[in-house]
């Protein structure tokens, strides 16, 4: 790293725990040891607040040991205001911060003074930023800061990734070169499937069958991390683990919706080495040093090989020994997926979907942030933005649209000439018309969308112990007496008080309501392709017998799906005609496909009644059989159906709200403002409907439609699948349910298809309520 100290940008790729953070700081310590430096020398940015304070602790020791006169401070959302103010007046040599805090710093008028002497920036865990909007915001802020100082050099630190060049392009100022340094990846991980006598169930994600085997592994290791893909699954697994934990092994749980105090307690116990195992989710994905983990268990198929490799790296953090990991498939299909993932790890084939150009909602926020910092020259700003890798292709027209949106709203109806947000001065520069707006813009900085969550507390007269959070939608679905899991305990819903869910403890063995929503990762394209290739083998010696037999049965009854072709099966079952489309496009895309195909089937007269989607297929049932697969899968009508469906869909409204918040059209929902009786605010859905009706080509609607192509709607992968299989449909008409389709009948999350359902449902329900009240 020292040899490259003067390069404009360097990307260091090392496996988790390779000591790369210290390597990133070496040139800084070297330069500061050479002589005194006035003001800020190095910025350190990490995606996690906790990482910033962790690094501060770890850095201070060597600095104090060799008696270097270096001031190291962190600055995050948790830093007290007085210290933040002082840091701006008298910055430390090393400032450790997060992307959001850095964007906020850059929004102050005195930012140029603060960053004047800045020499280096170190971006830690850059792989966790390069694929999302937080990372886009960071690089935009950096483009502004780069122009406030001389010769800023950038260092990125990344875990193992599939495509280092993409991250290098993201890191460097466009078109600066960026060297990639690959550290020794260490020995290959020792990774296998956990051998369990009992075969996994046909469907579901709980993996309860694996509890005894997992407990056995915990006993044999010092500290075990047990990763889950969703919070709900982690909660259920943890609960079951405790029911079976006869030796009272110390086992904790850690996930993003637990109360902060509870999480901190688990973290501390873990660092002290007091826990035998921690059941966790992605909240433990990033590189904080958690002590001596010697085993990682992944419950459920990993969905994504890259994430699996990064998780495995959490074991044996400190030693140059192979990381040990075990995979536990939660159902029969996941056995295939786990084996495919194991092969991918062995062959070092990581996956990842290319991300496309930088999103424009983040650009809008950046323009507003830049306007807070002082008069703005659009031409200079455009050049500055083009120096960001992700935005290097942004056209002047797109930029002007964003600028116009920030200035006037950019509506077809020119209504705000009197009250523009930005005004042009006679010298051509733009300023905020109302300086009070700067405060609001700063409050709104950031791109993370908190789902609306409610705190859960034990019911006590003066406010009981906080347990964690649940999503607002989940809370709305509860009625008094319902029991659910949080923090590993079963609680009873008592009521909602001042935006807090009040609960009491219950000693029940089973919660009534099994889940609350969590992220549902979709299996990556590469992993799904690998599975399709595996299906073409003559036999499957690498698979357990129960799973190999299942595939053989499918081959006898129908065929196995093939790469580059689309298998559609149709068969009768229990008076209904069923159609299975094996798109292998990932859960979100298959879900969207279900919605679109059911529309299509309605048109074709198949009278669909409902559907269910998994990572590999969509099963639709209805009154009539599918007879014309070509018409059903017609890409044009599917695409047209998407546009129609999107216009009125709740998912797109959520997408709109996220983009509208980021772009600064609506303000972030601050917890303090979310009182139950808010009459003054109205929902963003109203704005969406109004815009759609009167200004359908507005910038924000265009952004929303683009966003919908990925994420939860994930139409991008449907399109990919359609292109990949066009005209090559394997259509199988069969007498009965096929082996591969059978598990889908057991899947949760069936979606009923509704015509004018909501009004009818509501009419029936209100009439019933009137009747029970004796008013019918």
């Amino acid at each position: 790293m020292l040899a490259r100290a003067d390069d404009p940008a360097t990307l260091l790729i090392a496996p988790t725990g390779g000591g790369k953070t210290m390597a990133g700081f070496l040139p800084t310590l070297n330069e500061l040891a050479e002589g005194p430096h006035e003001g800020l020398h190095t910025l350190y940015v990490s995606p996690l607040k906790a990482l910033a304070s962790d690094i501060k602790r770890n850095l201070r020791r060597p600095v104090e040991d060799i008696n270097l006169p270096i001031r190291i401070e962190d600055r995050t959302g948790d830093t007290p205001a007085s210290r933040k103010k002082r840091q701006r007046a008298d910055p430390p040599h090393l400032l450790l911060t997060t992307p959001e805090s850095l964007a906020l710093l850059a929004s102050y008028e005195d930012a140029p003074r603060m960053f004047k002497n800045l020499k280096r920036i170190v971006i830690d865990e850059i792989h966790a930023l390069a694929d999302n909007k937080r990372g886009d915001q960071l690089m935009l802020a950096l483009s502004a800061i780069q122009n406030m100082c001389d010769g800023l050099r950038r260092v990125g630190l990344s875990a193992t990734v599939e495509d280092p060049a993409t991250i290098a392009k993201y890191l460097a100022r466009h078109p600066d070169p960026c060297d990639i340094v690959m550290a020794d990846p260490g020995p290959d991980p020792d990774i296998s499937m956990l051998q369990i006598a009992e075969p996994p169930p046909w469907a579901g994600g709980g993996a309860a069958y694996a509890i005894p085997a997992v407990l056995e592994q915990i006993k044999q290791h010092k500290t075990t991390l047990i990763f889950h893909n969703t919070r709900a699954q982690a909660e259920i697994f943890f609960h079951n683990l405790w029911l079976a934990n006869e030796d009272s092994l110390p086992i904790g749980i850690h996930h993003g919706s637990l109360d902060r105090v509870q999480r901190a307690r688990v973290e501390a116990a873990m660092v002290r080495g007091e826990l035998a195992a921690i059941v966790c989710t992605g909240s433990l994905d990033l590189g904080i040093d958690w002590g001596d983990v010697d085993l990682v268990i992944q419950i459920g198929a990993p969905k994504n090989v890259k994430r699996l490799v990064q998780r495995i790296g959490r074991a044996n953090h400190r030693y140059n020994a192979p990381s040990k990991a075990l995979l536990v498939p939660a159902n029969r299909f996941e056995v295939v997926e786990c084996v495919a993932a194991l092969q991918a790890v062995k062959e070092h084939e990581l996956d990842g979907d290319p991300r496309g150009p930088g999103p424009l909602d983040v650009l809008c926020q950046h323009i507003l942030i830049r306007a807070c910092a002082g008069p703005l020259d659009p031409n200079a700003l455009y050049r500055e933005i083009k120096s960001v890798g992700a935005y290097s292709e942004v056209t002047r027209a797109s930029f002007d649209d964003c600028f116009e949106f920030c200035a006037t709203g950019g509506y077809a109806l020119r209504a705000y000439d009197k009250w523009k947000r930005l005004l042009q001065r006679t010298d051509g520069k733009w300023i905020l018309r109302d300086q009070r707006a700067a405060q609001r813009i700063r409050m709104n900085i950031g791109t993370i969308q908190d789902t609306d969550t409610l705190k859960v507390r034990l019911k006590k007269s003066r406010g009981g112990k906080p347990l964690g959070e649940v999503e607002e939608n989940f809370a709305a679905s509860l009625t008094e007496g319902d029991t659910f899991l949080i923090g590993g305990q079963i609680v009873r819903y008592e009521g909602l008080r001042e935006m807090t869910v009040e609960v009491t403890r219950r000693a029940d063995k089973k919660p009534k309501i099994a889940t609350f929503a969590g992220t549902k990762f979709a299996t990556s394209t590469q992993l799904n392709q690998r599975i399709l290739r595996m299906f073409q083998q003559e036999a499957w010696p690498e698979l357990p017998a129960h799973t190999a037999d299942w595939l053989t049965l499918q081959r006898g009854a129908s065929i196995l799906p093939r790469p580059g072709r689309l298998l559609i099966e149709t068969f009768p079952h229990e008076d209904r005609h069923h159609t299975v489309v094996y798109g292998f496009a990932g859960r979100n895309a298959q879900q969207t496909l279900g919605l679109l195909l059911s529309k299509q089937m309605e048109q074709l007269g198949y009278d669909p009644l409902g559907f269910v989607a998994t990572d590999y297929a969509t099963l639709i049932w209805g009154l009539n059989p599918t007879t014309d697969p070509e018409a059903l899968m017609n890409p044009n009508t599917i695409e047209h159906g998407l546009e129609q469906w999107l216009a009125g869909n709740a998912l797109i409204k959520r997408t709109f709200r996220a983009s509208a918040t980021i772009a600064g059209l609506i303000e972030r929902n601050l917890p303090s403002q979310r009182k139950s009786g808010r009459q003054a605010t109205f929902s963003s859905d109203i704005l969406y409907d109004t815009l759609n009706k009167f200004d359908p080509e507005h910038l924000l609607l265009r952004i929303t439609r683009q966003e919908a192509m990925r994420g939860l709607v994930d139409f991008g992968r449907i399109r990919l699948m359609l292109d990949d299989t066009r005209g090559r449909i394997d259509f199988m008409t069969l007498p009965r349910v096929t082996p591969l389709a059978a598990p889908m009948f057991l899947e949760m999350g069936r979606v009923p298809i509704k015509g004018a359902a909501e009004e009818r449902l509501l009419a029936a329900e209100t009439a019933a309520l009137m009747a029970t009240a004796g008013l019918g």
Partner: protein, 225 residues
Amino acid sequence: MNSHAFTFCNEHLLALPSGALFWPAQRLLCVSDLHFGKASRYALHGASVLPPYEVHDTLLRLDQDIVEQRPKIMICLGDSFDRVGASDDLDPRSREWIIRLQAGVNWIWIEGNHDPGPLDLGGTHMHEVTIGPIAFRHIALEETATGGEISGHYHPKVTVRAGKRTITRRCFTTDTQRVILPAYGTYTGGLNVNASPLSTLLATNAICILTGAKALPVPRSKTRS
């Protein structure tokens, strides 16, 4: 018919699915809390530049109700404008539209807390008005005298569980003494009928009438907070 008929002070009234109230005997149409100019208030304070279509959208719906009911008397029950002076800032098209709607109608602007002053638009401007047994005012009195009262101000909304879904709608509330109208304006939020101060104002046996495609009555006691 998609509206809901009910009796109040021995008068026959219709709650329309749009959120307007019609009194057939008087040919009287009443809407509350139009909040014209809300978007421009946000812009004025430098907060945000919201889509400026809320006046047109509200007028579109009002136009349709007027065409269908052909009222002789039109009462706008206060907070018709989001702030004093908002009527000056109406775009010319919206201003002409309002004037067109007023033709041949006895148009009464009741003042609200957002628009206490007189407006520079046609029609009568009043603090409150009593027609037959019913008083029309913006904010409900805590103690009503004899007769009934129709008011707005609180933007009542109601949440009902239907099947596995939770559905929230703007609503009318009715009991023996009061009718409270939902907000009619496009950019308006709502206050749950079980939240204070609405909860204390309403009788426990109050009926809520949901707006939407069809006006649907439901007892307040059966709705969710």
